[in-house]
């Protein structure tokens, strides 16, 4: 009898090479499935078990996952864009136009990067509204809300630094205005402005600094905080579900004890 695809896959999962990479091995018992999550460097950030109702669309509208999705698209499209973009005053605008009109698929990659960036900002806010109105920011998840606010700032800073890179009039004046807002900080404002731009005006140094921030420092920092954000979901007891919150469970237990007491009295 011919083997099914599933059986072939099970055979593959039983091989020595596969087992050397994925320790959990074959089988679909609860233990094996839990191990598959727990022993994977990426998946171990998440809970090994999730209530199926928490994965329903209505629970979260998948806003956090969609935000991660746009972030991954931004990384995947941003790196190829770096191959054609020189962060220098004479070349930046010309390279942007080349990407738009000359480079094969350049238009597609650049537009995908741009629209994903817009979508990410929108989704981050939508995610925060959803979390806020469900009350999922409350104890024990307060710290993850704080991490989320940091991630919101990261998202906005990534948008802001990326805005300068096309080096057109819109970018130039937006960054002039934006960096002047930093000067409004008491006492150290002017110094922050000077360090951010690497000079007194938006110029070659500012372009290079924003490029390094946009392509290296901020994405790495964002990944760092995203990892903490996901790990905290597990540490704070999984995705928020009102029925499973300790306070709700305790309140329910109290009510049922009281009800039992009343029933016992009536029986006497």
């Amino acid at each position: 009898m011919a083997k099914t695809i599933d059986q072939h896959f099970d055979d593959l999962r039983g091989t020595r090479v596969w087992r050397s990479i994925f320790r959990s091995g074959t089988g679909s018992s609860t233990l094996k499935r839990a191990l598959a999550i727990q022993q994977n460097v990426f998946l171990h950030l998440f809970s090994t078990k999730v209530r199926s109702r928490m994965l329903s669309f209505s629970a979260t509208w998948y806003l956090g996952t969609l935000t991660l999705g746009t972030f991954l698209i931004l990384v995947a499209t941003g790196i190829p864009l770096m191959f054609y973009y020189h962060p220098s005053v004479p070349q930046a605008y010309a390279d942007t136009k080349d990407l738009q009109f000359v480079v094969s698929s350049g238009l597609f990659l650049r537009n995908l990067h741009r629209w994903s960036a817009h979508a990410m900002v929108f989704l981050v806010f939508a995610h925060m509204f959803k979390v806020f109105y469900r009350g999922a920011y409350r104890a024990p998840r307060e710290f993850n809300w704080v991490i989320g606010v940091i991630l919101l700032l990261m998202t906005l800073l990534l948008s802001y630094t990326g805005y300068l890179l096309p080096w057109d009039q819109l970018a130039y004046w937006a960054i002039t205005v934006g960096s002047n807002i930093a000067s409004a900080v008491p006492v150290i404002g002017e110094k922050i402005h000077f360090l951010l731009l690497g000079g007194n005006a938006v110029n070659a140094n500012a372009l290079l600094r924003f490029y390094v921030l946009h392509c290296m420092i901020l994405p790495l920092a964002a990944m760092f905080f995203v990892a903490i954000h996901f790990w905290r979901i597990r540490k704070d007891g999984g995705l928020y579900s009102h029925d499973s919150e300790p306070a709700t469970v305790r309140a329910k237990a109290k009510t049922s004890v009281a009800t039992n007491a009343v029933t016992a009295k009536e029986a006497q």
């Binding site: 004046w173 002039t176 205005v177 960096s179 002047n180 807002i181 000077f194 360090l195 690497g198 000079g199 007194n200 005006a201 110029n203 070659a204 140094n205």
Partner: protein, 165 residues
């Protein structure tokens, strides 16, 4: 034996070997951290800037007819020929650094970004701008050209803030 050690420890102000090395280690780590922070700050603070000179040559005074307001967009300044003489005004809005423009039909200076308005002498009329447009030092060089130092503010409407030819 144990008592002896204790006595020696007491004589040395209760610092035993473990505490000593812990303090030494944390102390050097702290110094290294502070040093790294200072090093990083100095590195990120440019010592040399390849920016345009703050002093710009605006040419012969007769380029500017009486009553004219002329913007030099590249330098971000106005050259204004008033009845009192020539003076120079920063064209950079004091709100958030946009380039203002002279509106001859309205007889005022306006900022396109957030709508601040200034008089011809830099005085603020309205808008989010917190301060008037600063006056800049202006003088004639030996060749008879008008020079403006963009890095030096001078008092508005003061006698010495004008150039008379």
């Amino acid at each position: 034996m144990a008592d002896e050690t204790k006595t020696i420890g007491d004589l040395n102000n209760d610092v035993n070997r473990r505490q000593f090395f812990l303090t030494l280690g944390l102390g050097s780590l702290g110094i290294a951290t502070a040093g790294t922070a200072a090093f990083a700050y100095q590195y990120l603070d440019p010592n040399v800037l390849y920016e345009p000179s703050p002093v710009v040559n605006e040419g012969k005074p007769d380029r500017y007819p009486l009553g004219s307001v002329t913007i030099d967009v590249n330098s971000g300044i106005y050259i204004i020929h008033s009845d009192e003489g020539y003076f120079s005004l920063s064209a950079v809005c004091t709100h958030l650094g946009c380039m203002t423009a002279w509106k001859p039909e309205l007889n005022l200076i306006a900022c396109p970004c957030h709508g601040s308005k200034f008089e011809q002498n830099g005085k603020k009329i309205e808008g989010p701008a917190p301060k008037p447009l600063p006056w800049k030092r202006i003088w004639l060089n030996d060749d008879g050209d008008l020079l403006v130092d963009r890095s030096t503010d001078v008092p508005a409407l003061a006698r010495d803030s004008f150039v008379r030819v």
